[in-house]
Amino acid sequence: MILRRRVQTIYKKELIDILRDRRTLIAMIVVPIVLYPLLMLGSVQAVSFQGDTLEREKFLVGVVSDAHWELLERLIRSDAQRLEQARQESAEDPEDGDGPVGLVDLAESPSPYPDRQALEQAVKDREVQVGVIFEHEELRNGFNTRNPVTILADREEVRSANAAGRLRRMIGRTGERIIERRLTDLDLPPEFVTPFSIAFVNLSARSSILGQILPLILILMTITGAIYPAIDLTAGERERGTLESLMVSPVPVFELIVGKFLVVTTVAIMGATLNLASVTATMWFGGFDVIVADTEGGLPIGKMVIILLCLVPFAVLMSAIMIAVCSYARTFKEAQNYVTPVIMAVLIPGGIAAMPAARLDGVMLVIPVGNMVLFAREMLLGAPVSWWQMATVLVSTSLYAAAAVSIAATVFGRESVVFADAGSLRTSFSRRLIKPSRRPTITLSLLFVAFLFPTWFFIQASLAPGPGEDAQALLAATAWLMPLMFVALPVVVLFYWRISLTETLSLRMPRRWHLVAGLLIGLSAWVPAHELNVLQSYVLGPPASLAQSAELLGETLSRMHPAKVLLIIAIIPAVCEELLFRGLLLSGLGTSSRKYTAIIVSAVVFGVFHFLLPKFAVTVALGLVLGYLCWQSRSIVPGMLAHALHNGVAAMSVLLPKWSNGLGIPADLGWSHFPPQVIVGGLALFVAGCLLARIKASPHSDQQ
C-alpha cells in the first residue's frame, strides 16, 4: 500500500515524538530488556532456593502415642537403609529425590498428643507440619492384613504439604518392598502383581507451557505496547493543547488517525518484539529452555518467529481498538479509565481461547481477539491450520481493525470531545440533536458490517447441515433472518441516525438501459463465473468443499417447489444483499473514498460474507460488477435484477439440468470449460451489459 504523503508525514513526526518520550522508552526498552530477565531469573532462583531449603528442612511429625512414633522411626530408618543400598548398587541417587538417607534426621516428633482431635488442631495451628496415626501400633505382616495409616496435613501450607508428600512416598516405597519380599517368598515373578505394563508415548510436538501461555503473554505484551502511545497521541494531544493547531491543518481527520494508528501499531510491534526477544534470551542464557522446549528438545526459535508473525495482525487490531477508545478521552486520566475495562474485555475472549478445549473452528474463527489467540496457539503447536481458517481469522481481524480505526476517525477531533463547552459525548448520540444527512459515514457502514460479520457467521455455522442432513434448516432460517439482519436492522440504524433511506439505499427507479444492463448481466454472469472457477481450479485444484455444498444444496432444492426455490435462492438474497452491500456499505464507503476504492472494498466484503474460500474470487468479481452497476445507475434496482437472475439461473441449472443440456453443456461438465459457443455467447451478453452500465444516470459529483 502506498501511503499518502501526508500520512507519511504524520507517521514520521508521531514516531519521532513518541520515541523521544522517556516513558515510552522505559515501557518499551528498559522493562523488557532489564526488568523481565531480572524478574524471571529472580523468581526462578527464589523458587529453586525455596525448593532446596524445603528438602533440607527438618519437620515435626505429630503422633498420638510413643508407639506410633517408634513405628514411624523404624520405617524411616529401614527406608534409609534400602535407599542407601540401592544407591550403592546403581551408583546413582534414587529418582524420587529423597536422597540416600531418606527422612533420617529430618523428621522429629514432639510429645504425643492425647487424641486425633488434638493432633488435627496442632497441624492446623502449625505446631507440627504433619500428623501420622497408625491403626495398629505394630507393623502387621500377614497376607490378609493391612496397615492403615492416616496422614494429617495442611495442603495450603507448603512445609506441611512437602512433609506429607515425603512421608507418603516413604511409606509407599516400604509397601513396595514388602510386596517384593512376599513375591520372592512365594517364588512368584513381579509380573504377578503387575499384569499390565503401560508405556505412554507423547507424540505431541507441543511444549506444555509454551503453547498454553505464550498467546496470552502475546496479548499482554501487545496491549502494554499499544496503551501508552495510543493515549499520548489522542487524549495527550488534547491535554497538551496541540489538538487545535492540528485540527486547523488542512488534513482530513481520517488521515490523521491513520498516521497515528500506524505509529501505535509500530510501537506495539516493536515493544512486543523486544519483550519476546528478551524472554527468549533469558530462557536461553538462563538455562530455562527446558520448561518451554518441545519434544525434540532445545528452544523453539522457529516458533518464536511464528509468534512474531501472528503478532502483526494482533497488534493492528489492538492498536485500532486502543486508538478508538482513547479518542473519546479528553485527558490522560480519562483515557486510562476507558482503557482498563477494554483490557478486561479483551482478556476474556483471549482467556477463553487459551483454554485447552478451545478449537479454531465455528464461531471461534470470528471472535475478535479470541480467534487470533487460538490461531497463534495452533500455529505454535504445529496443528494443521487450513487456508480457509487462516483467511477467515485474518480477514475478520482486519475488518474489526478497520471498523475501530473508523470509529477513531469519527470521534477524534469531534467538537464534543475537543471542547468541553460543546456538549458531552452523550449529546452526540441523542437523536434529537443528530442532523439529518443524506448518506451514512464510512464509520457507521463499517461498524455495522463488522457487527454483522461474526453474528451472521455464527448463524451460518450453527445451522450448517451435519452429516446425513439436508440444507433445509439453513435455507429456511436464511429466508427470514436475512431480511431481518440485512434490511430491517440497517433501516432501523439509518432511521435513528436520521439518514436518508432513499439516498443510502439508492431507492430510485433506474433508467431503462440500466435495467437492460442488469438483465444482460444477470442472464449471462454464470458463464464468466464458471470460467473463473475453472481457471481458479488450475491453481488451487478442484474445490471439493464447493462441489459437496453444491451437491447438498441441489438435493435439498430438488425436494422443494420451484417457486419457493426462486424465492429463497434468488429473490431474497438479491434484495437483501444488494440493500446491505450496494446500499448501506457502498454509500458509506463512497462518502470518504474514491469510486473504485468504494466498489472494490464493498465487493471484497461481499465475498468475505459468503464464508467459502473457493467462492471468494467469483463473489468478489460479481460484487465488483454489481457495485459498478449500482454506482453508475444510482439505483439499487438493476443490481437486484442482475443478482436475482444470476442466482435464479444457477438454481434452475440444478433443478432443470435439461435446460443446460440444451445449450450443449454436458451433464458431467465438472471443472471443465464450457463449449466455445456458450463462452462466446455468454461473454458477449455480459460485456454488452457492462458496456450499457457505463452510461451514467446523472453526475456523481456529490459522491466523488
Binding site: 501526508r6 513526526k13 519521532i16 523521544r20 497538551r240 493547531s245 486547523v248 488542512p250 482530513p252 467538537e415
Partner: protein, 254 residues
C-alpha cells in the same frame, strides 16, 4: 475583496435535557484584505466560539462562514489552507524542536521537504528565533513558544489570520513582538481577526471593532464611529457603556 464573510452565524450548544444554549446568535460581519477586525466582548460573549467556527474547528448550527471564497461547511480543507490560527493557549509538541515543528506543519500544508525547510528557515530569521529554534519546545520560555507559534501560524503564508488572545500572559517585550508582527501582516495585505481583552491593543491595531455580548453583535464600527455613538473617548469606556446598555437596548449594532 472580502476575505472573511460571517453570514448570520449561530452556534447552539446542545444539551440532552433540551435546554440548549445559543453561544453565538445571528452574527454577521466581513473583513477585507489588509484589515484588522477586532472581536471584543466580555467572557462568555461568544468570541472564541466564533473564531472556532471560522476556522473549521466547530460546525455552525446556522448561517455560513466564507473564508477566501470557500464555505467552511463545504470545503473545510480549502478554508484551512487559507488560514493561520493562533491562540495564547495553543500548545506545542514538547518533544520536537522549533524547526522540526515548523517543517511538520509546512508539510501538512502540502509543501515538500525542500520548500518546507526553506520556509522554516525564512520564518526563523524573520522572527529572530535562531538562538532557540534548535531547542525542544518543552524547554522554551513562554515568549519563545509564542514566537514559534506565530511562525507555525504563518508557515503556509495564509491570507487570513485568526488570533484569539495572542498576547495573553506575555511580558512587555514578547507582547511588543506580537503586536509588531500583527501590524506587519496587516501591511502585507492579510485579513486579520483579532480577539482580545486588552482594549488598548484593539484601540491601536483594529480598523474595525465588533462588540459581542451574549452571542450577539451589539456594536460594530471603527473607533471614531463608536466614539460618536457613545460619547466616550476611550475604548474601555465605550465597551462598558455598550455592554451595560446591551441587555435592554442592543441599539448600537449597525
Amino acid at each position: 475583496m472580502d476575505m472573511v464573510v460571517a453570514d448570520n452565524l449561530a452556534k447552539v450548544f446542545p444539551a440532552p435535557d433540551g435546554r440548549d444554549k445559543r453561544a453565538v446568535d445571528g452574527l454577521s460581519f466581513v473583513v477585507g484584505e489588509g484589515r484588522i477586525y477586532g472581536l471584543l466582548g466580555p467572557n462568555g460573549a461568544g468570541k472564541t466560539t466564533t473564531l472556532r467556527m471560522l476556522s473549521g474547528l466547530m460546525t455552525p448550527t446556522e448561517g455560513r462562514a466564507i473564508l477566501a471564497g470557500h464555505d467552511v461547511a463545504v470545503d473545510p480543507e480549502l478554508v484551512k489552507r487559507s488560514l493561520g490560527f493562533l491562540t495564547a493557549n495553543t500548545g506545542l509538541y514538547q518533544r520536537l524542536t522549533g524547526r522540526e515543528l515548523l517543517i511538520y506543519f509546512a508539510q501538512l500544508h502540502g509543501m515538500d521537504a525542500q520548500a518546507s525547510g526553506e520556509r522554516a528557515d525564512y520564518l526563523i530569521r524573520w522572527l529572530s528565533m535562531g538562538d532557540f529554534v534548535g531547542l525542544r519546545c518543552g524547554a522554551m520560555s513562554t515568549g519563545q513558544k509564542q514566537r514559534v507559534n506565530i511562525a507555525r501560524a504563518l508557515v503556509a503564508d495564509p491570507p487570513i489570520l485568526v488570533m484569539d488572545e495572542p498576547t495573553l500572559g506575555l511580558d512587555v517585550l514578547s507582547n511588543r513582538i506580537i503586536l509588531e508582527f500583527i501590524e506587519r501582516e496587516r501591511d502585507c495585505g492579510k485579513a486579520i481577526i483579532l480577539s482580545t481583552h486588552y482594549l488598548d491593543e484593539a484601540e491601536s491595531l483594529c480598523d474595525k471593532i465588533g462588540l459581542l455580548h451574549n452571542g450577539r453583535l451589539v456594536a460594530e464600527g471603527d473607533l471614531q464611529s463608536l466614539r460618536r455613538e457613545t460619547n466616550r473617548q476611550r475604548l474601555s469606556d465605550i465597551f462598558l457603556e455598550i455592554v451595560h446598555a446591551a441587555p435592554t437596548t442592543g441599539a448600537f449594532a449597525s
